[in-house]
C-alpha cells in the first residue's frame, strides 16, 4: 500500500513515452527508500517470533524454578523444624534436673565447704572443713521437670561397657598403678601427660 503514491508520481513519465519501446521504470529515490521497509517488516515479524520464543523459554524456566523454589522452601522449612527439634532435645538434655540425675547415677556428690586455689601462686584460700549442715542435693533432686521422661538418663550398662572395654585395652587406670578406684567419670579418664595446664604448687 505504501508504494501507491510513488506509482502515481511516476504516471506522467509513462504517458510521455512511446508505447512501442519497453522501458523499465527507473525507481525513484522515494521508491528506493521504500524498499527496505520489507526488510523492516521481516525484522519486526522475526522479532516478534523471537520474543515469543524467549517468552516461552522464560516461562519454562520460571515454571521449573517455581518447582525448585517450592521444593527448596519445603526443605528449608523441614530443616528448620529439625533444628528446632534438636535444640529442644539439647535443652532437655542440658536441663539442670537431667544433669543432676545423671551425676547422681554416676555417684557424684556435691562438695562441702568452699575452697579456692590461686593458680598463679598455688595458694589455697578458705578453711578446710568437711561437709556440714544441710547438704543440698544429697537426697536427690526435688525440683520437678515434666519434660524429662527418662530418655535423658545415661545407660549405666553402656558406661560400664565403655569402662570394661578400656580396662581390656589397658588404657584405664587400675588400682595397682595408683589409679583412684573411686573415680567414676563419664568421660574416660586418660593420662594427659601434662597436657592440661596445672599450677606449680609450692
Amino acid at each position: 500500500m505504501s508504494a501507491a503514491p510513488a506509482l502515481r508520481i511516476a504516471q506522467p513519465a509513462e504517458t510521455s513515452e512511446t508505447p512501442t519501446r519497453h522501458l523499465d521504470i527507473a525507481p525513484t529515490r522515494a521508491q528506493r527508500r521504500a524498499r527496505p521497509r520489507v526488510y523492516a517488516a521481516l525484522v519486526a515479524v522475526g522479532g516478534i517470533i523471537v520474543i515469543l520464543l524467549a517468552q516461552l523459554l522464560m516461562s519454562i524456566v520460571l515454571a521449573d524454578g517455581a518447582y525448585r523454589i517450592t521444593s527448596l522452601q519445603r526443605e528449608y522449612r523441614d530443616l528448620a523444624r529439625e533444628q528446632n527439634a534438636a535444640q529442644e532435645r539439647l535443652a532437655q538434655l542440658s536441663s539442670t534436673q537431667s544433669l543432676i540425675d545423671n551425676a547422681t547415677a554416676l555417684g557424684m556428690v556435691s562438695s562441702g565447704n568452699p575452697m579456692f586455689l590461686d593458680v598463679a601462686t598455688g595458694q589455697a584460700y578458705g578453711t578446710v572443713a568437711g561437709p556440714r549442715g544441710q547438704t543440698v542435693g544429697a537426697g536427690g533432686n526435688l525440683i520437678g521437670n515434666a519434660l524429662l521422661d527418662g530418655t535423658t538418663m545415661l545407660d549405666p550398662a553402656a558406661i560400664a561397657g565403655a569402662r570394661s572395654a578400656e580396662v581390656l585395652a589397658g588404657t584405664a587406670p587400675t588400682p595397682a598403678d595408683g589409679g583412684n578406684v573411686t573415680r567414676t567419670g563419664v568421660t574416660p579418664e586418660r593420662e594427659t601427660g601434662g597436657a592440661l595446664p596445672s599450677p606449680t604448687t609450692r
Binding site: I69, R81, I143
Partner: protein, 591 residues
C-alpha cells in the same frame, strides 16, 4: 484505475477484518466477564491460597542465657471427613521388590495413627464421623516432629496437618515462680504476662496462586503482613543458683513440715536479684504440678509479719538519727509494759530481767524488750518515716513483678501496741522481697537500690531495650549501715546459731526472725521463721533471705539457719567470693 480499485478493496477487507477481530474479542470478553464470571471466580479462588506466616514467641533466659521458657514446634493432625471413604483407601506398598496395592480401612488407619501418637482410636473415630461432610476435624493435638513425620509417612489421603506452636520450659520448675504460666489463649502470670509486650509475636499472612499440582505460581506471592517474632526477655537470675535455693528450700521445708518457703539472693551493689525461690514451685510445663496457691511467687506477692528481721531497720534508723551507738547500754527487764494499755512485751526466751545489753546485744540476742525501750528514743512519725524509707508499706521493691505487694505499716496515729511492735516486725507486714531489699540497703552502705528482676528485652533484630538501672536512694548514713552490719556479724559469731550459720573464713552478717502468725483470734502457736543477712561484711556483695512458714517440727529461726548457711556457701562457689582477709572486730554484747 484497476490499481486504485484494488487498493480500496484491500482497505475495506482490512477494516472488516479488524472489526471482526474486535467483535470476536468483545464477545469473548463479555463471555468471560459477565456470562462465566461466577464460575471462573470460583476456580480462581480455589487456586489462590492464603497461608499463615507463624511468628515465634520470644524466650525467657537467665543472666547467662540459660533458656527458662521457649517456643517449640508442635503439630496438630487434622482430617477432612468429607474425603474419608467408608471402604478405606488403597495404599501402594512394596513387598519383596514387587509393588502392590493394599486396602487400608478407616479403623486400621486410625489404629496406625494411635500407635504413633498414643491418641485414643475411639475419640479419633468420633471426631471423624461427627459430621461426615465436614472439611476439617481435629484428630490429634500438639505432637512432636518425629511423631508428626511418622504420621505423614503413613500416606493416609484424608489426613492433613497444621503447625501448633507451643511453649516449653526446658528447666521445668526452676524459676517457674518467676517465669509464670501460659494458657491456651495467652499468658496468665509472672514474667510471661508482665513482659508479654516484648515476648509476643505476631503472625503474618502470605497469599499466592497455586497451580493445579499445588506449586506456587511464580510472581503471584503477596505478603500481606510479614510475621514478627517476639523478643527475648533477659532475667537477672542465675538458673543454677535458683535451682539450688529451690532445692534447699524443698529439702528443709519438707524436713521441718513447713507450709511454704522463700529465699532471695540479691546483688548488694546493683539490686539485681540472683535468685528468688519459692517452695513449692509450679512446673510451668504442667499446670497441675502445684496448687493454685503455689503456682505464683509468694516471695513477691504474699506479705506476712516478718518478725525480728525488721529489728535491723529499727537499730539502723536510731543509729542514723544519732539516738544510739553500738555500745549504748540498756538494762533489759523481764517485760516491757506499754504505757496506758497494760500490754506486756516479753522476749522469746523468758528471763528474770536485769540483763545488761549493749545496742549490739539487743540486736544480736534479738530482745523485743530492748527494741521496745529504743522506741522511746524516737517519735512515732519519725519511726514510720524510716520504715517507709526502707520500703515497707510504701511501694514495691522496684522488681516490678506482676502482683507485687507493698506490705503494710500502720500509719500514725497508730494504736499504742502496734506502734511499738511494728519495730520488731509484728503488726506490720512485708514480702520476702522487701526484707531482702532491707538487707541490700544495710549492706550497701545505707543506699537502697531498686531490686531488678529483668535486665532487658532483646528484639530479634538485635536491638536491646535495657531496663534502666534504678537510682539508689540513701535511707541511712554509711556509718549507721556499716555499724549495723558489724553488729549483725555477731549473729554468726556470738549468737547461739553461730555454729550453724558461719562459713569458716567468711565474715557474714545475719539476723534471725521468729514471727508469730496471726490467725482468726490473735496470735497462735504458728511461726514464720527466717534468717536474713549479707556477706562478706568487709565488702558486702550479696544479701540473702530465707523464710519458712509454719514449720511443725521446729518453730524457731534455727529451722532456717542450715538453709541460709547452705545458700551462702553456694553463692560463694557460684560467684567466687574470696574469703575475708581481716578478722571480725570486737562486738561487745553486754556491759
Amino acid at each position: 484505475m484497476i490499481d486504485a480499485r484494488t487498493n480500496r478493496r484491500r482497505l475495506v477487507v482490512a477494516v472488516l477484518a479488524i472489526f471482526a477481530i474486535v467483535i470476536v474479542f468483545s464477545i469473548r470478553l463479555v463471555d468471560i466477564q459477565v456470562v462465566r464470571a461466577d464460575s471462573l471466580k470460583t476456580v480462581a479462588g480455589t487456586n489462590f491460597r492464603t497461608d499463615t506466616l507463624w511468628g515465634t514467641r520470644g524466650s525467657i533466659v537467665d543472666a547467662n542465657g540459660t533458656v527458662l521458657a521457649t517456643s517449640v514446634d508442635r503439630f496438630n493432625i487434622t482430617a477432612a471427613p468429607v474425603n474419608v471413604h467408608p471402604a478405606g483407601f488403597e495404599r501402594r506398598v512394596e513387598v519383596d521388590g514387587t509393588r502392590k496395592l493394599v486396602r487400608v480401612s478407616v479403623m486400621e488407619a486410625l489404629q496406625e495413627i494411635s500407635d504413633i501418637t498414643g491418641a485414643d482410636v475411639q475419640e479419633m473415630y468420633t471426631a471423624l464421623t461427627r459430621d461426615p461432610d465436614a472439611q476439617w476435624a481435629l484428630l490429634v493435638k500438639g505432637i512432636k516432629l518425629d511423631a508428626f513425620r511418622a504420621v505423614v509417612a503413613l500416606r493416609i489421603p484424608w489426613i492433613y496437618s497444621e503447625p501448633q506452636p507451643a511453649r516449653s520450659y526446658p528447666n521445668g520448675a526452676i524459676a517457674g515462680n518467676l517465669v509464670g504460666l501460659m494458657g491456651t489463649d495467652g499468658p496468665l502470670s509472672g514474667t510471661e504476662y508482665r513482659w508479654n509486650e516484648c515476648l509476643a509475636s505476631h503472625n503474618g499472612q502470605v497469599s499466592y496462586a497455586v497451580s493445579e499440582d499445588g506449586v506456587r505460581m511464580p510472581g503471584s506471592e503477596v505478603v500481606e503482613t510479614p510475621a514478627v517474632d517476639g523478643g527475648t526477655v533477659h532475667l537477672t537470675i542465675d538458673a543454677d543458683l535458683q535451682w539450688y535455693t529451690q532445692q534447699a528450700l524443698a529439702e528443709q521445708g519438707t524436713a521441718i513440715g513447713a507450709d511454704w518457703g522463700t529465699a532471695f539472693v540479691v546483688d548488694v551493689k546493683t539490686g539485681k536479684i540472683r535468685a528468688a525461690a519459692d517452695w513449692p514451685t509450679v512446673d510451668p510445663n504442667d499446670l497441675n504440678s502445684a496448687g493454685a496457691d503455689d503456682s505464683g511467687a509468694r516471695s513477691f506477692t504474699a506479705p506476712y509479719e516478718p518478725g525480728s528481721t525488721i529489728k535491723t531497720a529499727t537499730v539502723a534508723a536510731l543509729l542514723d538519727a544519732g539516738k544510739i551507738s553500738a555500745d549504748t547500754r540498756f538494762t533489759i527487764p523481764s517485760g516491757y509494759t506499754i504505757p496506758g494499755v497494760g500490754f506486756t512485751i516479753r522476749d522469746s526466751v523468758l528471763h528474770g530481767g536485769g540483763l545488761r545489753y549493749t545496742t549490739a546485744g539487743v540486736l544480736v540476742e534479738s530482745s523485743n524488750i530492748g527494741i521496745a525501750q529504743m522506741t522511746e528514743l524516737m517519735s512515732l512519725e519519725e519511726r514510720i518515716r524510716y520504715l517507709h524509707a526502707f520500703g515497707f508499706g510504701n511501694g514495691t521493691t522496684g522488681a516490678d513483678f506482676l502482683g507485687e505487694d507493698e506490705g503494710f505499716v500502720r500509719p500514725a496515729p497508730s494504736d499504742p501496741i502496734t506502734s511499738v511492735t511494728q519495730q520488731f516486725g509484728q503488726g506490720m507486714t512485708a514480702t520476702s522481697a522487701q526484707v531482702a531489699s532491707l538487707y541490700q540497703t544495710i549492706a550497701n552502705g545505707g543506699v537502697r537500690m531498686p531490686l531488678t528482676l529483668v535486665e532487658g528485652c532483646e528484639k530479634p533484630d538485635g536491638s536491646y531495650t535495657d531496663v534502666p538501672d534504678g537510682e539508689g536512694t540513701r535511707v541511712v548514713s554509711e556509718y549507721a549501715a556499716d555499724t549495723t552490719m558489724r553488729i549483725l556479724e555477731g549473729v554468726t559469731t556470738q549468737y547461739h546459731l553461730a555454729r550453724v550459720l558461719a562459713v569458716p573464713g567468711y565474715r557474714i552478717a545475719a539476723k534471725s526472725g521468729t514471727a508469730e502468725v496471726a490467725d482468726g483470734d490473735g496470735y497462735g502457736s504458728e511461726r514464720i521463721v527466717s534468717i536474713a543477712g549479707a556477706f562478706p561484711v568487709d565488702d558486702p556483695q550479696f544479701a540473702i533471705v530465707v523464710t519458712f512458714a509454719k514449720p511443725v517440727t521446729m518453730r524457731t529461726s534455727a529451722a532456717a539457719a542450715p538453709t541460709f548457711n547452705a545458700i551462702v556457701k553456694q553463692v560463694i562457689k557460684t560467684y567466687r567470693v574470696t574469703p575475708s582477709t581481716e578478722p571480725a572486730p570486737e562486738n561487745p554484747l553486754t556491759w
